[in-house]
């Protein structure tokens, strides 16, 4: 007698309708053109976020979030716990890659004007996530509570202090007092492992749903060219073709990630001494170097206003303009070429790259 075979696939499909999802993914078409490569960034970011969501909680098994114990517990993770160095290094490098790819995703979508109608909310959610990722990077940098973390905490929490009116309150809120002290680390810890990832997860869900709803944005230039040549823009189905591309990219990414983590494990600086002067040549993490470099160049006083205030206000205005791009770039909204915003984007990109490089090498 033949044993009755249980069809797991069929049983699951009956209960979860996975087939419907696959059918949907088969129907969804991804346009193929010279800018298609920028479509890959989102999936890479999600893969990295998933890696962070695994390595982060795992590190919490040994990390002790208090000013007195944080440094020792990170040291223990690095030297005692089996593979602790690897897991911390993977978390460290995944965050760096995440920020790097977030910059690529941001600049590429800005330059191809993907924020055009009806994708305004996709853009806004993306910008919110970009800020969240940067803030996650910054808060994570402070958690080992070594010397670098201490100065990063001082400078980083002092900066919002320059904002008129509310600055002082933000500063005290972040520090849990007038100085970086015993409460500061716990606040940053709560932000890094609780508030920020949860916010990112929620906004990410909205972002992904919106992307599925509207489909991929096609750059104006590609659309115009296709119209002029009276051709249809070629497309591939999301499943299995595009998912396959994403999988290959993901594998390459994991390869790069582990290579970096193994060859350049994350460091732990000297222990904090509240009375020691800042070490010579102390700098922020690379993703804030451009801000650091710009603020260094701004003179002490500009037209009688404090240089720090001018610099931070200027950067905030530029960021605000980028944030509101879908609402002020009327030309793109009419599906016309918008050279002003292209130039704005290219200049921002160059400022970012040049200032980061100068900050890094000099």
């Amino acid at each position: 007698m033949e044993a009755k075979k249980i069809d797991v696939k069929k049983a699951l499909d009956e209960r979860l309708s996975l087939g419907a999802l696959i059918t949907l993914a088969r129907k969804k078409m991804v346009p193929m053109h010279k800018h298609t490569v920028w479509y890959y960034m989102g999936a890479l970011l999600i893969i990295l976020f998933m890696i962070q969501m695994i390595t982060g909680p795992v590190l919490l098994f040994y990390y002790k979030p208090a000013a007195e114990t944080a440094y020792q517990s990170v040291a223990e993770i690095m030297v005692r716990v089996p593979y602790g160095w690897l897991i911390r290094s993977v978390h460290h490098w995944a965050s760096n890659l995440m920020i790097m790819i977030a910059f690529v995703h941001f600049f590429s979508t800005f330059l191809v004007k993907a924020y055009r109608r009806p994708r305004e909310f996709t853009w806004l959610t993306g910008m919110v996530m970009f800020l969240l990722v940067l803030f996650l990077g910054y808060t994570g940098y402070t958690l080992p509570y070594d010397e670098r973390a201490f100065f990063a905490l001082n400078v980083g929490t002092d900066m919002p202090g320059a904002i008129p009116v509310v600055g002082e309150y933000i500063l005290e809120f972040l520090r849990g007092g007038p100085n970086v002290g015993l409460h500061t680390l716990n606040r940053f810890f709560a932000l890094h492992v609780g508030v920020l990832p949860l916010a990112l997860l929620v906004v990410l869900a909205v972002h992904v749903v919106l992307v599925q709803l509207h489909g991929m944005s096609i750059p104006v230039s590609v659309e115009k060219k296709a119209q002029a040549e009276k051709k249809k823009i070629p497309a591939k189905p999301m499943f299995p073709h595009f998912v396959w591309h994403d999988a290959i990219n993901g594998l390459l990414l994991i390869g790069v990630l582990f290579t970096l983590a193994i060859c350049m494990p994350s460091e732990l600086g000297p222990v904090i001494d509240y009375l020691k002067p800042a070490p010579e040549g102390v700098k922020p993490d690379w993703f804030f170097l451009w801000v650091y470099q710009i603020l260094k160049w701004v003179p002490t006083y500009v037209l009688g206003i404090e240089g720090e205030v001018v610099g931070i206000t200027g950067l905030a205005l530029a960021a605000g303009a980028i944030f509101c791009a879908p609402f002020i770039d009327w030309k793109s909204q009419r599906n016309e070429r918008s050279p002003v915003f292209t130039i704005f984007g290219v200049v921002s990109l160059l400022v970012f790259l040049v200032c980061t490089a100068i900050g890094f090498f000099f």
Partner: protein, 157 residues
């Protein structure tokens, strides 16, 4: 030689390759995580702990005090006859701490109503085995409480 019938189709072969690849990738990534999570500092039980005799003498007859034996909680009883006995205070059922009841001269575990007699033997309720008994002996002006399972008790203190 050409086989008449292939054991698996080309499609099956490549599907297997993909799933096999995924499985080995998961193993490769999962192994460090599992090793990381199962790290623990090895905390062997000490061979013996000591208590000043003066302290022991202060304990009233037919009562008990708790003490730390390595990572284990210990319970030290002065019986009605003045004899000193020491046990691990961990109930052998589900690891709650037991308490001494002077009225019945038994140990009671309140979690699931387990009872042990004054020798540590499980006499009622769910506990499956007796309490771990320590040996107690006097050495000068200290009381040495030792774990009989660690063997080398005489050396320490």
């Amino acid at each position: 030689m050409k086989l008449k019938k292939s054991l698996l189709s080309r499609r099956d072969f490549f599907t297997g390759l993909i799933y096999g690849g995924l499985a080995s990738l998961t193993a490769f990534l999962g192994y460090p995580v599992v090793r990381f999570l199962y790290y623990e500092k090895k905390l062997p039980l000490p061979q013996a702990v000591t208590a000043p005799l003066a302290e022991i003498e202060k304990i009233p007859v037919n009562s008990a005090v708790y003490f730390q034996y390595g990572y284990l909680p210990g319970i030290l009883v002065k019986t009605q006859t003045g004899e000193i006995k020491a046990f691990s205070a961990k109930c052998t059922h589900l690891d709650c701490n037991v308490q001494y009841q002077p009225e019945t001269q038994q140990f009671h575990c309140a979690c699931h109503d387990g009872y042990f007699d004054i020798t540590g033997k499980n006499i009622a309720g769910p506990p499956p085995s007796p309490l771990l008994a320590f040996t107690v002996r006097q050495e000068g002006d200290v009381m040495v409480i030792a774990n009989p399972e660690s063997g080398e008790e005489a050396k320490t203190a």
